[in-house]
Subunit: 270 residues, 2 copies
Protein backbone atom coordinates (compact mmCIF):
# COMPACT_ATOMS: atom_id res chain seq x y z
CA UNK A 1 0.00 0.00 0.00
CA UNK A 2 1.44 3.33 -1.10
CA UNK A 3 0.85 6.10 1.43
CA UNK A 4 1.56 9.69 0.34
CA UNK A 5 2.73 12.35 2.82
CA UNK A 6 4.71 15.56 3.15
CA UNK A 7 8.45 14.97 2.78
CA UNK A 8 11.35 14.68 2.99
CA UNK A 9 11.85 11.98 5.67
CA UNK A 10 11.52 13.19 9.25
CA UNK A 11 8.28 15.22 9.15
CA UNK A 12 5.58 15.04 11.80
CA UNK A 13 3.51 13.64 8.90
CA UNK A 14 5.86 10.64 8.82
CA UNK A 15 5.20 9.97 12.51
CA UNK A 16 1.45 10.19 11.85
CA UNK A 17 1.79 7.92 8.78
CA UNK A 18 3.61 5.21 10.77
CA UNK A 19 0.94 5.38 13.47
CA UNK A 20 -1.83 5.11 10.84
CA UNK A 21 -0.36 2.28 8.78
CA UNK A 22 2.89 0.80 10.17
CA UNK A 23 3.66 -1.36 7.12
CA UNK A 24 2.84 1.07 4.33
CA UNK A 25 5.30 2.12 1.65
CA UNK A 26 5.78 5.85 2.29
CA UNK A 27 5.79 8.17 -0.74
CA UNK A 28 7.24 11.55 0.23
CA UNK A 29 5.74 14.51 -1.64
CA UNK A 30 7.08 18.03 -2.22
CA UNK A 31 4.32 19.97 -0.48
CA UNK A 32 1.02 19.62 1.35
CA UNK A 33 -1.05 20.37 -1.73
CA UNK A 34 0.58 17.51 -3.70
CA UNK A 35 0.09 15.18 -0.73
CA UNK A 36 -3.62 16.12 -0.55
CA UNK A 37 -4.03 15.37 -4.27
CA UNK A 38 -1.93 12.15 -4.27
CA UNK A 39 -4.87 9.69 -4.32
CA UNK A 40 -6.79 11.69 -6.92
CA UNK A 41 -3.84 11.79 -9.27
CA UNK A 42 -3.24 8.04 -8.92
CA UNK A 43 0.24 8.18 -7.40
CA UNK A 44 -0.84 6.71 -4.03
CA UNK A 45 -3.52 4.44 -2.54
CA UNK A 46 -3.85 6.68 0.50
CA UNK A 47 -2.33 9.95 1.70
CA UNK A 48 -2.11 11.59 5.12
CA UNK A 49 -2.07 15.39 5.64
CA UNK A 50 -2.35 17.77 8.62
CA UNK A 51 -5.68 19.62 8.79
CA UNK A 52 -5.51 21.57 12.07
CA UNK A 53 -3.22 22.28 14.98
CA UNK A 54 -4.42 23.08 18.48
CA UNK A 55 -2.37 26.32 18.62
CA UNK A 56 -1.94 27.61 15.08
CA UNK A 57 -5.33 26.51 13.78
CA UNK A 58 -6.35 25.26 10.35
CA UNK A 59 -4.01 24.35 7.50
CA UNK A 60 -5.51 26.53 4.76
CA UNK A 61 -3.73 24.96 1.81
CA UNK A 62 -5.10 21.50 2.66
CA UNK A 63 -8.62 22.87 3.16
CA UNK A 64 -8.51 24.62 -0.23
CA UNK A 65 -7.35 21.39 -1.93
CA UNK A 66 -10.10 19.34 -0.24
CA UNK A 67 -12.69 21.37 -2.13
CA UNK A 68 -11.22 20.22 -5.43
CA UNK A 69 -10.41 16.52 -4.99
CA UNK A 70 -12.73 13.51 -5.36
CA UNK A 71 -11.04 11.09 -2.89
CA UNK A 72 -12.91 10.73 0.39
CA UNK A 73 -11.49 11.19 3.88
CA UNK A 74 -11.19 7.66 5.26
CA UNK A 75 -9.66 8.27 8.67
CA UNK A 76 -7.90 10.62 11.10
CA UNK A 77 -4.93 10.56 13.47
CA UNK A 78 -4.12 12.93 16.33
CA UNK A 79 -0.44 13.44 17.14
CA UNK A 80 1.09 15.28 20.10
CA UNK A 81 3.62 17.78 18.74
CA UNK A 82 6.88 18.43 20.55
CA UNK A 83 8.96 20.99 18.68
CA UNK A 84 12.76 20.90 18.98
CA UNK A 85 15.42 23.45 18.12
CA UNK A 86 18.25 21.69 16.31
CA UNK A 87 21.45 22.72 14.60
CA UNK A 88 24.93 21.66 13.64
CA UNK A 89 26.22 24.65 15.61
CA UNK A 90 25.57 25.69 19.19
CA UNK A 91 23.01 28.11 20.68
CA UNK A 92 25.29 31.15 20.52
CA UNK A 93 25.94 30.65 16.77
CA UNK A 94 22.31 30.85 15.70
CA UNK A 95 21.51 33.70 13.33
CA UNK A 96 18.80 32.07 11.21
CA UNK A 97 15.78 30.05 12.32
CA UNK A 98 14.08 27.93 9.72
CA UNK A 99 10.94 25.77 9.67
CA UNK A 100 7.50 25.25 8.15
CA UNK A 101 5.17 28.22 8.89
CA UNK A 102 3.15 26.01 11.28
CA UNK A 103 6.32 25.15 13.25
CA UNK A 104 7.34 28.82 13.42
CA UNK A 105 3.83 29.84 14.47
CA UNK A 106 3.74 27.26 17.25
CA UNK A 107 7.04 28.63 18.66
CA UNK A 108 6.46 32.34 17.96
CA UNK A 109 6.87 33.54 21.55
CA UNK A 110 9.90 31.31 22.11
CA UNK A 111 11.67 32.73 19.05
CA UNK A 112 10.71 36.29 19.96
CA UNK A 113 12.03 35.90 23.49
CA UNK A 114 15.22 33.91 22.87
CA UNK A 115 16.25 34.99 19.36
CA UNK A 116 14.79 38.48 18.86
CA UNK A 117 17.39 39.30 16.22
CA UNK A 118 17.38 36.03 14.27
CA UNK A 119 16.24 36.01 10.68
CA UNK A 120 13.25 33.71 10.27
CA UNK A 121 12.83 31.66 7.09
CA UNK A 122 10.17 29.25 5.96
CA UNK A 123 10.41 25.92 4.20
CA UNK A 124 7.82 23.53 2.78
CA UNK A 125 8.22 21.13 5.72
CA UNK A 126 10.00 20.86 9.08
CA UNK A 127 12.27 18.09 7.78
CA UNK A 128 13.22 20.15 4.76
CA UNK A 129 14.36 22.76 7.28
CA UNK A 130 16.44 20.15 9.13
CA UNK A 131 18.02 19.02 5.88
CA UNK A 132 18.96 22.60 5.01
CA UNK A 133 20.40 23.24 8.48
CA UNK A 134 22.92 20.44 7.86
CA UNK A 135 24.84 22.84 5.68
CA UNK A 136 25.03 25.94 7.89
CA UNK A 137 26.09 25.95 11.57
CA UNK A 138 24.52 29.41 12.04
CA UNK A 139 21.12 27.98 11.08
CA UNK A 140 18.73 26.21 13.47
CA UNK A 141 15.71 24.21 12.33
CA UNK A 142 12.51 23.69 14.29
CA UNK A 143 10.94 20.26 13.96
CA UNK A 144 10.70 16.80 15.56
CA UNK A 145 13.66 15.11 17.21
CA UNK A 146 13.49 12.27 14.64
CA UNK A 147 14.58 14.68 11.92
CA UNK A 148 17.58 15.82 14.01
CA UNK A 149 18.73 12.20 14.10
CA UNK A 150 18.03 11.72 10.40
CA UNK A 151 20.04 14.78 9.34
CA UNK A 152 22.84 14.67 11.90
CA UNK A 153 21.85 17.74 13.92
CA UNK A 154 22.14 18.29 17.66
CA UNK A 155 18.90 18.85 19.57
CA UNK A 156 19.69 22.12 21.39
CA UNK A 157 16.30 22.56 23.08
CA UNK A 158 13.28 20.27 23.35
CA UNK A 159 9.61 21.16 23.75
CA UNK A 160 9.97 24.79 22.66
CA UNK A 161 6.32 25.14 21.50
CA UNK A 162 4.61 28.09 23.21
CA UNK A 163 1.74 26.00 24.61
CA UNK A 164 2.30 22.65 26.27
CA UNK A 165 -0.87 21.13 24.81
CA UNK A 166 0.14 21.09 21.17
CA UNK A 167 -1.65 18.55 19.00
CA UNK A 168 -2.02 18.19 15.25
CA UNK A 169 -4.94 16.40 13.67
CA UNK A 170 -4.20 14.59 10.40
CA UNK A 171 -6.73 13.28 7.91
CA UNK A 172 -6.26 10.29 5.63
CA UNK A 173 -7.54 10.34 2.05
CA UNK A 174 -8.27 7.05 0.29
CA UNK A 175 -10.09 5.29 -2.50
CA UNK A 176 -12.95 3.55 -0.68
CA UNK A 177 -15.52 5.00 1.71
CA UNK A 178 -15.33 3.23 5.09
CA UNK A 179 -18.46 1.49 6.46
CA UNK A 180 -20.10 2.73 9.66
CA UNK A 181 -18.45 1.61 12.92
CA UNK A 182 -20.78 3.28 15.42
CA UNK A 183 -17.99 5.69 16.39
CA UNK A 184 -17.69 7.87 13.29
CA UNK A 185 -17.28 11.45 12.21
CA UNK A 186 -18.48 13.11 9.00
CA UNK A 187 -16.74 16.10 7.39
CA UNK A 188 -18.72 18.47 5.17
CA UNK A 189 -17.89 21.58 3.17
CA UNK A 190 -20.79 23.92 2.48
CA UNK A 191 -21.22 27.09 0.53
CA UNK A 192 -24.27 29.03 1.70
CA UNK A 193 -26.22 31.78 0.07
CA UNK A 194 -24.42 34.71 1.68
CA UNK A 195 -27.19 37.21 1.07
CA UNK A 196 -29.76 35.36 3.13
CA UNK A 197 -29.60 36.50 6.80
CA UNK A 198 -29.68 33.58 9.20
CA UNK A 199 -28.59 31.07 6.54
CA UNK A 200 -25.90 29.52 8.75
CA UNK A 201 -28.24 29.37 11.75
CA UNK A 202 -30.89 27.70 9.63
CA UNK A 203 -28.28 25.25 8.35
CA UNK A 204 -27.00 24.29 11.81
CA UNK A 205 -30.59 23.79 12.93
CA UNK A 206 -30.84 20.60 10.88
CA UNK A 207 -28.13 19.10 13.09
CA UNK A 208 -29.36 20.61 16.36
CA UNK A 209 -32.95 19.38 16.02
CA UNK A 210 -31.65 15.85 15.43
CA UNK A 211 -29.19 16.13 18.35
CA UNK A 212 -26.27 15.61 15.99
CA UNK A 213 -23.18 16.98 17.71
CA UNK A 214 -20.97 19.36 15.74
CA UNK A 215 -17.30 19.03 16.70
CA UNK A 216 -15.82 21.70 14.44
CA UNK A 217 -16.80 24.64 12.27
CA UNK A 218 -14.20 26.56 10.33
CA UNK A 219 -14.61 29.20 7.64
CA UNK A 220 -12.36 29.58 4.63
CA UNK A 221 -12.46 32.43 2.09
CA UNK A 222 -14.26 31.57 -1.18
CA UNK A 223 -11.61 33.75 -2.91
CA UNK A 224 -14.40 35.50 -4.80
CA UNK A 225 -15.30 38.33 -2.43
CA UNK A 226 -14.24 39.62 0.96
CA UNK A 227 -16.73 38.28 3.49
CA UNK A 228 -17.67 35.28 1.32
CA UNK A 229 -16.83 31.91 2.85
CA UNK A 230 -16.95 28.15 2.61
CA UNK A 231 -17.74 26.46 5.92
CA UNK A 232 -16.01 23.24 6.93
CA UNK A 233 -18.16 21.37 9.41
CA UNK A 234 -17.43 18.12 11.29
CA UNK A 235 -20.30 16.29 12.96
CA UNK A 236 -20.49 13.03 14.89
CA UNK A 237 -21.98 10.09 12.98
CA UNK A 238 -21.73 8.39 9.59
CA UNK A 239 -23.46 9.62 6.44
CA UNK A 240 -25.25 6.25 6.28
CA UNK A 241 -26.71 6.71 9.79
CA UNK A 242 -30.41 7.46 9.46
CA UNK A 243 -30.40 10.79 11.32
CA UNK A 244 -27.38 12.19 9.54
CA UNK A 245 -28.62 10.94 6.17
CA UNK A 246 -31.87 12.83 6.72
CA UNK A 247 -30.04 15.95 7.85
CA UNK A 248 -27.75 15.97 4.79
CA UNK A 249 -30.71 15.45 2.50
CA UNK A 250 -32.55 18.42 4.08
CA UNK A 251 -29.39 20.54 3.98
CA UNK A 252 -28.84 20.02 0.28
CA UNK A 253 -31.90 22.18 -0.35
CA UNK A 254 -30.58 24.91 1.92
CA UNK A 255 -27.22 25.71 0.40
CA UNK A 256 -25.66 26.39 -2.96
CA UNK A 257 -23.15 23.54 -2.64
CA UNK A 258 -22.73 20.76 -0.10
CA UNK A 259 -19.81 18.37 -0.41
CA UNK A 260 -19.48 15.33 1.86
CA UNK A 261 -15.71 15.12 2.34
CA UNK A 262 -15.99 11.76 4.08
CA UNK A 263 -17.37 9.61 6.92
CA UNK A 264 -14.71 7.82 8.93
CA UNK A 265 -13.90 6.34 12.35
CA UNK A 266 -13.18 9.01 14.98
CA UNK A 267 -9.77 9.13 16.61
CA UNK A 268 -10.07 9.52 20.35
CA UNK A 269 -10.05 13.15 21.35
CA UNK A 270 -6.69 14.45 22.48
Amino acid sequence: MKLGLLGPEGTFSEMAAKKWSPGAQLIFMDDMECATRAVDDGSCDESIVPIENSVEGPVGVVMDALLEIRSPIVGEEVLPVRQCLMSRGSLKDIKIIISHPQGLGQCRHYIHEHFPKAEVRTTGSTSHAARLAQEFPEMAAIGCSESAQKYGLKVLREGIQDYAANYTRFIVLGRHKPSPTGHDKTSLAVYLDRDRPGALYDFLGEFARRSINMTRIESRPSKKLLGDYWFFIDVEGHEKDLELREAISALKDKCTTLKVLGSYPRADRA
Copy 2:
Protein backbone atom coordinates in the same frame (compact mmCIF):
# COMPACT_ATOMS: atom_id res chain seq x y z
CA MET B 1 -2.97 62.04 16.61
CA LYS B 2 -0.52 59.12 16.83
CA LEU B 3 -1.57 56.15 14.69
CA GLY B 4 0.30 52.87 15.17
CA LEU B 5 0.78 50.39 12.32
CA LEU B 6 3.02 47.66 11.01
CA GLY B 7 6.29 49.01 9.68
CA PRO B 8 8.68 49.92 8.23
CA GLU B 9 7.38 52.51 5.73
CA GLY B 10 5.75 51.07 2.62
CA THR B 11 3.40 48.41 4.05
CA PHE B 12 -0.19 47.89 2.89
CA SER B 13 -1.00 48.97 6.46
CA GLU B 14 0.47 52.40 5.63
CA MET B 15 -1.89 52.73 2.65
CA ALA B 16 -4.82 51.77 4.90
CA ALA B 17 -3.63 54.21 7.60
CA LYS B 18 -3.50 57.12 5.16
CA LYS B 19 -6.99 56.27 3.93
CA TRP B 20 -8.27 56.08 7.50
CA SER B 21 -6.67 59.25 8.83
CA PRO B 22 -4.76 61.30 6.21
CA GLY B 23 -3.21 63.75 8.71
CA ALA B 24 -2.17 61.34 11.46
CA GLN B 25 1.38 60.96 12.73
CA LEU B 26 2.31 57.41 11.76
CA ILE B 27 4.14 55.29 14.34
CA PHE B 28 5.68 52.25 12.68
CA MET B 29 5.83 49.14 14.87
CA ASP B 30 7.97 45.98 14.63
CA ASP B 31 5.19 43.44 14.21
CA MET B 32 1.44 43.01 14.07
CA GLU B 33 1.17 41.98 17.69
CA CYS B 34 2.86 45.22 18.87
CA ALA B 35 0.61 47.24 16.55
CA THR B 36 -2.50 45.55 17.98
CA ARG B 37 -1.35 46.38 21.52
CA ALA B 38 -0.22 49.98 20.77
CA VAL B 39 -3.27 51.76 22.22
CA ASP B 40 -3.37 49.54 25.27
CA ASP B 41 0.27 50.17 26.08
CA GLY B 42 -0.13 53.95 25.68
CA SER B 43 2.25 54.45 22.77
CA CYS B 44 -0.50 55.49 20.29
CA ASP B 45 -3.96 57.08 20.25
CA GLU B 46 -5.13 54.67 17.59
CA SER B 47 -3.66 51.74 15.68
CA ILE B 48 -4.64 50.01 12.46
CA VAL B 49 -4.04 46.28 11.78
CA PRO B 50 -5.11 43.73 9.14
CA ILE B 51 -7.69 41.23 10.36
CA GLU B 52 -8.60 39.19 7.25
CA ASN B 53 -7.76 38.83 3.59
CA SER B 54 -10.19 37.62 0.95
CA VAL B 55 -7.79 34.89 -0.22
CA GLU B 56 -5.56 33.90 2.69
CA GLY B 57 -8.19 34.33 5.40
CA PRO B 58 -7.81 35.50 8.99
CA VAL B 59 -4.70 37.01 10.56
CA GLY B 60 -4.34 34.72 13.56
CA VAL B 61 -1.80 36.76 15.51
CA VAL B 62 -4.10 39.82 15.51
CA MET B 63 -7.09 37.72 16.56
CA ASP B 64 -5.13 36.20 19.44
CA ALA B 65 -4.03 39.68 20.63
CA LEU B 66 -7.62 41.04 20.43
CA LEU B 67 -8.62 38.59 23.17
CA GLU B 68 -6.10 40.19 25.53
CA ILE B 69 -6.37 43.96 24.95
CA ARG B 70 -8.84 46.45 26.45
CA SER B 71 -8.97 49.04 23.60
CA PRO B 72 -12.15 48.83 21.51
CA ILE B 73 -12.35 48.49 17.73
CA VAL B 74 -13.44 51.94 16.53
CA GLY B 75 -13.50 51.50 12.76
CA GLU B 76 -12.53 49.44 9.72
CA GLU B 77 -11.02 49.99 6.28
CA VAL B 78 -11.07 47.70 3.24
CA LEU B 79 -8.13 47.92 0.86
CA PRO B 80 -7.72 46.29 -2.56
CA VAL B 81 -4.38 44.47 -2.58
CA ARG B 82 -2.22 44.40 -5.68
CA GLN B 83 0.96 42.42 -5.05
CA CYS B 84 4.11 43.27 -7.00
CA LEU B 85 7.34 41.36 -7.54
CA MET B 86 10.25 43.75 -7.09
CA SER B 87 14.01 43.51 -7.02
CA ARG B 88 17.25 45.33 -7.66
CA GLY B 89 18.11 42.58 -10.15
CA SER B 90 16.20 41.22 -13.12
CA LEU B 91 13.80 38.25 -13.40
CA LYS B 92 16.49 35.78 -14.41
CA ASP B 93 18.61 36.61 -11.33
CA ILE B 94 15.97 35.70 -8.78
CA LYS B 95 16.91 32.87 -6.43
CA ILE B 96 15.16 34.00 -3.25
CA ILE B 97 11.62 35.31 -2.82
CA ILE B 98 10.83 37.14 0.38
CA SER B 99 7.66 38.61 1.91
CA HIS B 100 5.24 38.50 4.81
CA PRO B 101 3.50 35.07 5.05
CA GLN B 102 0.22 36.70 3.91
CA GLY B 103 1.94 38.09 0.78
CA LEU B 104 3.52 34.71 0.02
CA GLY B 105 0.19 32.93 0.57
CA GLN B 106 -1.65 35.30 -1.77
CA CYS B 107 0.88 34.56 -4.56
CA ARG B 108 1.45 30.86 -3.84
CA HIS B 109 0.47 29.57 -7.29
CA TYR B 110 2.39 32.36 -9.03
CA ILE B 111 5.59 31.49 -7.14
CA HIS B 112 5.09 27.75 -7.71
CA GLU B 113 4.60 28.24 -11.44
CA HIS B 114 7.24 30.87 -12.20
CA PHE B 115 9.92 30.21 -9.56
CA PRO B 116 9.60 26.53 -8.63
CA LYS B 117 13.21 26.40 -7.46
CA ALA B 118 13.36 29.70 -5.56
CA GLU B 119 13.98 29.67 -1.84
CA VAL B 120 11.06 31.31 -0.03
CA ARG B 121 11.69 33.39 3.11
CA THR B 122 9.35 35.25 5.42
CA THR B 123 9.67 38.64 7.04
CA GLY B 124 7.56 40.53 9.57
CA SER B 125 6.10 42.79 6.87
CA THR B 126 6.09 43.26 3.08
CA SER B 127 8.08 46.50 3.37
CA HIS B 128 10.68 44.83 5.57
CA ALA B 129 11.10 42.39 2.66
CA ALA B 130 11.54 45.29 0.21
CA ARG B 131 14.15 46.87 2.48
CA LEU B 132 16.10 43.61 2.67
CA ALA B 133 15.93 43.10 -1.11
CA GLN B 134 17.82 46.39 -1.54
CA GLU B 135 20.96 44.55 -0.55
CA PHE B 136 20.77 41.45 -2.76
CA PRO B 137 20.09 41.46 -6.52
CA GLU B 138 19.20 37.73 -6.42
CA MET B 139 16.38 38.47 -3.97
CA ALA B 140 12.87 39.59 -4.97
CA ALA B 141 10.34 41.00 -2.52
CA ILE B 142 6.56 40.73 -2.81
CA GLY B 143 4.62 43.80 -1.67
CA CYS B 144 2.99 47.03 -2.82
CA SER B 145 4.48 49.22 -5.54
CA GLU B 146 4.89 52.09 -3.04
CA SER B 147 7.55 50.08 -1.21
CA ALA B 148 9.48 49.49 -4.46
CA GLN B 149 9.68 53.26 -4.89
CA LYS B 150 10.63 53.75 -1.24
CA TYR B 151 13.49 51.24 -1.31
CA GLY B 152 14.77 51.80 -4.85
CA LEU B 153 13.63 48.50 -6.35
CA LYS B 154 12.34 47.83 -9.86
CA VAL B 155 8.79 46.52 -10.16
CA LEU B 156 9.34 43.38 -12.28
CA ARG B 157 5.73 42.17 -12.32
CA GLU B 158 2.50 43.79 -11.12
CA GLY B 159 -0.70 42.14 -9.91
CA ILE B 160 0.86 38.72 -9.24
CA GLN B 161 -1.72 37.69 -6.63
CA ASP B 162 -3.38 34.35 -7.51
CA TYR B 163 -6.92 35.73 -7.38
CA ALA B 164 -7.88 39.04 -8.97
CA ALA B 165 -10.30 39.95 -6.18
CA ASN B 166 -7.82 40.37 -3.36
CA TYR B 167 -8.93 42.61 -0.49
CA THR B 168 -7.66 43.06 3.03
CA ARG B 169 -9.90 44.27 5.83
CA PHE B 170 -8.17 46.37 8.51
CA ILE B 171 -9.55 47.24 11.93
CA VAL B 172 -8.74 50.37 13.89
CA LEU B 173 -8.27 50.24 17.67
CA GLY B 174 -8.82 53.40 19.71
CA ARG B 175 -9.52 54.90 23.11
CA HIS B 176 -13.19 55.88 22.83
CA LYS B 177 -16.17 53.81 21.75
CA PRO B 178 -17.90 55.41 18.72
CA SER B 179 -21.59 56.40 18.97
CA PRO B 180 -24.18 54.68 16.76
CA THR B 181 -24.42 55.95 13.18
CA GLY B 182 -27.23 53.72 11.89
CA HIS B 183 -24.71 51.86 9.67
CA ASP B 184 -22.63 49.96 12.21
CA LYS B 185 -21.03 46.62 12.84
CA THR B 186 -20.31 44.92 16.16
CA SER B 187 -17.47 42.44 16.70
CA LEU B 188 -17.71 39.83 19.44
CA ALA B 189 -15.45 37.07 20.73
CA VAL B 190 -17.18 34.19 22.50
CA TYR B 191 -16.04 31.11 24.29
CA LEU B 192 -18.80 28.53 24.49
CA ASP B 193 -19.24 25.51 26.68
CA ARG B 194 -17.76 22.92 24.32
CA ASP B 195 -19.38 19.97 25.99
CA ARG B 196 -22.94 21.15 25.34
CA PRO B 197 -24.17 19.88 21.93
CA GLY B 198 -25.91 22.59 19.94
CA ALA B 199 -24.28 25.41 21.96
CA LEU B 200 -23.25 27.36 18.86
CA TYR B 201 -26.64 26.87 17.23
CA ASP B 202 -28.37 28.05 20.38
CA PHE B 203 -26.05 31.05 20.50
CA LEU B 204 -26.66 32.09 16.88
CA GLY B 205 -30.40 31.78 17.49
CA GLU B 206 -30.36 34.95 19.59
CA PHE B 207 -29.29 36.86 16.48
CA ALA B 208 -31.51 34.97 14.03
CA ARG B 209 -34.73 35.43 15.97
CA ARG B 210 -34.09 39.19 16.11
CA SER B 211 -33.18 39.28 12.38
CA ILE B 212 -29.67 40.51 13.23
CA ASN B 213 -27.47 39.71 10.26
CA MET B 214 -24.16 37.94 10.94
CA THR B 215 -21.46 38.98 8.47
CA ARG B 216 -18.62 36.81 9.69
CA ILE B 217 -17.88 33.83 11.94
CA GLU B 218 -14.36 32.60 12.43
CA SER B 219 -12.99 30.07 14.87
CA ARG B 220 -9.61 30.30 16.56
CA PRO B 221 -7.98 27.63 18.75
CA SER B 222 -8.27 28.25 22.49
CA LYS B 223 -4.76 26.76 22.78
CA LYS B 224 -5.98 24.56 25.61
CA LEU B 225 -7.24 21.50 23.75
CA LEU B 226 -7.55 20.30 20.18
CA GLY B 227 -11.14 20.97 19.07
CA ASP B 228 -11.61 23.79 21.60
CA TYR B 229 -12.23 27.19 20.02
CA TRP B 230 -13.02 30.85 20.47
CA PHE B 231 -15.52 32.19 17.94
CA PHE B 232 -15.13 35.63 16.42
CA ILE B 233 -18.50 36.89 15.24
CA ASP B 234 -19.36 40.12 13.40
CA VAL B 235 -22.99 41.23 13.26
CA GLU B 236 -24.69 44.27 11.77
CA GLY B 237 -25.77 46.93 14.28
CA HIS B 238 -24.40 48.82 17.30
CA GLU B 239 -24.23 47.41 20.81
CA LYS B 240 -26.44 50.34 21.91
CA ASP B 241 -29.17 49.41 19.41
CA LEU B 242 -32.10 47.93 21.33
CA GLU B 243 -32.21 44.58 19.49
CA LEU B 244 -28.52 43.92 19.67
CA ARG B 245 -28.34 45.06 23.31
CA GLU B 246 -31.04 42.52 24.17
CA ALA B 247 -29.29 39.79 22.17
CA ILE B 248 -25.95 40.40 23.90
CA SER B 249 -27.62 40.40 27.29
CA ALA B 250 -29.30 37.06 26.54
CA LEU B 251 -26.05 35.65 25.12
CA LYS B 252 -24.03 36.44 28.21
CA ASP B 253 -25.99 33.73 30.03
CA LYS B 254 -25.29 31.22 27.29
CA CYS B 255 -21.51 31.21 27.11
CA THR B 256 -18.51 31.03 29.40
CA THR B 257 -17.05 34.33 28.14
CA LEU B 258 -18.40 37.01 25.82
CA LYS B 259 -16.20 39.97 24.93
CA VAL B 260 -17.56 42.89 22.90
CA LEU B 261 -14.53 43.87 20.82
CA GLY B 262 -16.24 47.01 19.52
CA SER B 263 -19.16 48.68 17.70
CA TYR B 264 -18.10 50.87 14.80
CA PRO B 265 -19.22 52.29 11.44
CA ARG B 266 -19.19 49.71 8.65
CA ALA B 267 -16.91 50.21 5.67
CA ASP B 268 -18.75 49.57 2.43
CA ARG B 269 -18.42 45.98 1.35
CA ALA B 270 -15.72 45.36 -1.23
